[in-house]
Amino acid sequence: MGFKEARQKAHDVWASLVDNKRPLIFAGAASCGRAAGVQSVISAFRTRLAEKGIEASIIEVGCVGMCYLEPIIDIKMPGKPRVSYSNINPARARKLIADHIIGGEVCEDLAIGTVGEQRADGIPGLFEHPMLAAQNRRVLRNCGLIDPTNIDHYIATGGYSGIEKAIEIGPEATIEMVKKSGLRGRGGAGFPTYRKWEFCRRSPGTPKFLICNADEGDPGAFMNRSLLEGDPHAVLEGMLIAGLAIGSSKGIIYARAEYPLAVERLKIALAQMSEYGLLGDGIMGSSFSFEIELEEGAGAFVCGEETALIAALEGRRGMPRPRPPFPAVSGLWGKPTNVNNVETLGNLPQILINGPDWFAELGTEKSKGTKTFALAGKVKRTGLVEVALGTKLRDIVFSIGGGILDEKKFKAVQTGGPSGGCIPLEMLDLPVDYERLAEAGSIMGSGGMVVMDESTCPVDIAHYFISFTQQESCGKCPPCRIGTNKMLGILQKIKSGKGTMRDLALLEELALTVKRASLCGLGQTAPNPVLSTLRYFRDEYIEHIRNRRCPAGVCRKPRKKAADNHNSNSVADATGGE
């Protein structure tokens, strides 16, 4: 089947959803929907529909980003609007069948909005919801709306037109377009994507490898998972475009072990690409050939770092090595290799389709486009959001996130995970872009945002992150291996009310040393959570030391017997607790 016929078929499939003859039930079945129990809701639908002899289609979609409202179910009756319902359980599923599917009445008390152009009386459009209204959903445009296991849905919504364009204009013009767009890497460092590509394209040596970094290991972050589960083809099309640009015919996805559903969706998507002639020799009748292999990680945070990731792909311990040589010169098996993050790749198709100016119309001077953020912690509306770069933190936490849970007071937002820092109340009007976050002592990172309220203790958070990096340190370089361990010891002392002012000075000195002397990004950024909490919440550290008191009431003094109770000690160590 040529791509033209494929596109025609896809449009027919899509049209049958818009102009459906039988009831359609869309179930939010990403990991978050599953964690909220959507599978029991789906089986309740199946059972009751069978009992009533109703023929309906149940379509599993990804996540629209409103994870706090999961399970989310949309119902579309023939000729009627698609209505989204939140917090559905099996009993409510049966009610939706009785009222909406059989009775033809929208259940207003459960509805959160309508999707698509048609409106139902008294129900606003879903995208007018306060959580969605302030967003610019570009990378996430399909998530929660299309069936991620159906390539036709992706094609019908414009999919694979980006690679079509890239083939038409060729690699140099593709790189030029990405250069003009201003796209920077979404994996953390924010390096201009076109520059890495040029570097790799010009490196001698074949084959060249294109790696999609899907190792998302930051605790508290789930942007890449959500995109891979909700719209895997967008990322795969991005891989085709990047592969074409750098002159590679070999793509590899390195996916995190803890993401089984994303892996499953990728496998399905890859099989469909092959079936549609979008992989293999002569893609879309051109001379461009590309293969994609999927490799599952085995659980190590440091493997998100590109040189460690390459070591893992070569069957070795995932330890980083010094750069240069950069992977663009000597990467996998010593060949030129380009590593890009999932979201970086997910941006590409639309840059090709809509042009670089469209992309750059959002964002700040040096940070163009949109960024997805995983909004979690003590905020009312948790989920996955996508906003223009430069959006104020306040807008993300309060307008989109709805403010703090249980009407408590805001204390800080943690961005950038274990490599980032805490941004305090005074800086809520900070526009979120790469430079501003770095100036504030944090980093953009991959997009995790964990909101903290007055009952969160900054010392505990610093301790939490250092215990994470200390465990995840690969052990190769002493500053990181020993430094994080020593920092953890001091933080434990301060937490348990045994710290001294001298410890505080030592902690700061150690933090700066580890930052300067470590081999890779893990160690170089590991002290950030400590340094940023020291910068903004030093008084709380001092309170722990001088008055042996945790103002947030989190850090407890060690239980009396802890010293001679070996078990409870080892748990506290292993879990970073107490």
Partner: protein
């Protein structure tokens, strides 16, 4: 990963996926299987162990009948993951990474399952559950013994 010569069978790049395959089959990495792998791939046994022990997914003991993973990622940490861990630890008298003596129940901690918006999160025998409390986790575990779960 295919190595430079396109060798899928014995190439070094296949080591981690070969380990994953063994673990999938047995639920852990039995010593004989690792010896055989070392022979077949021509990689010393200490290297094989060196690689396997680096990655947290690989286990060297047979799995327990039931495994509970408690998330202690950032979002779960600030929303009470530790309380769940403490309560399960007390109930079964096991630390994270340990299995009860009757090998019925293993407790593991993970650093983020990507469902942070529904924190705190646990995974019981591969099934993920969000918005948990110590009480609701207790109930999940109690339900394991219900006859329809085939225990």
């Amino acid at each position: 990963m295919t190595d430079n010569n396109g060798d899928y069978g014995t190439g070094r790049g296949r080591l981690i996926s070969a380990l994953a395959k063994i673990q999938k089959k047995h639920g852990y990495l039995p010593e004989d299987a690792l010896s055989e792998l070392s022979r077949k791939m021509g990689i010393s046994k200490s290297e094989v162990y060196g690689v396997a022990t680096f990655y947290s997914q690989f286990k060297f003991d047979p799995p327990a009948k039931h495994t509970l993973h408690i998330c202690l990622g950032t979002a779960c940490h600030v929303r009470g993951g530790m309380k769940i861990l403490e309560s399960v630890r007390k109930r079964f008298k096991v630390n994270p990474g340990e299995t009860t003596e009757d090998r019925k129940f293993a407790l593991e901690r993970v650093a983020c399952l990507g469902c942070c918006a529904l924190a705190p999160v646990v995974v019981l025998d591969g099934e993920i559950h969000g918005k948990m409390t110590p009480e609701s986790v207790d109930k999940l575990i109690d339900d394991l013994d219900a006859p329809e779960r085939g225990v």
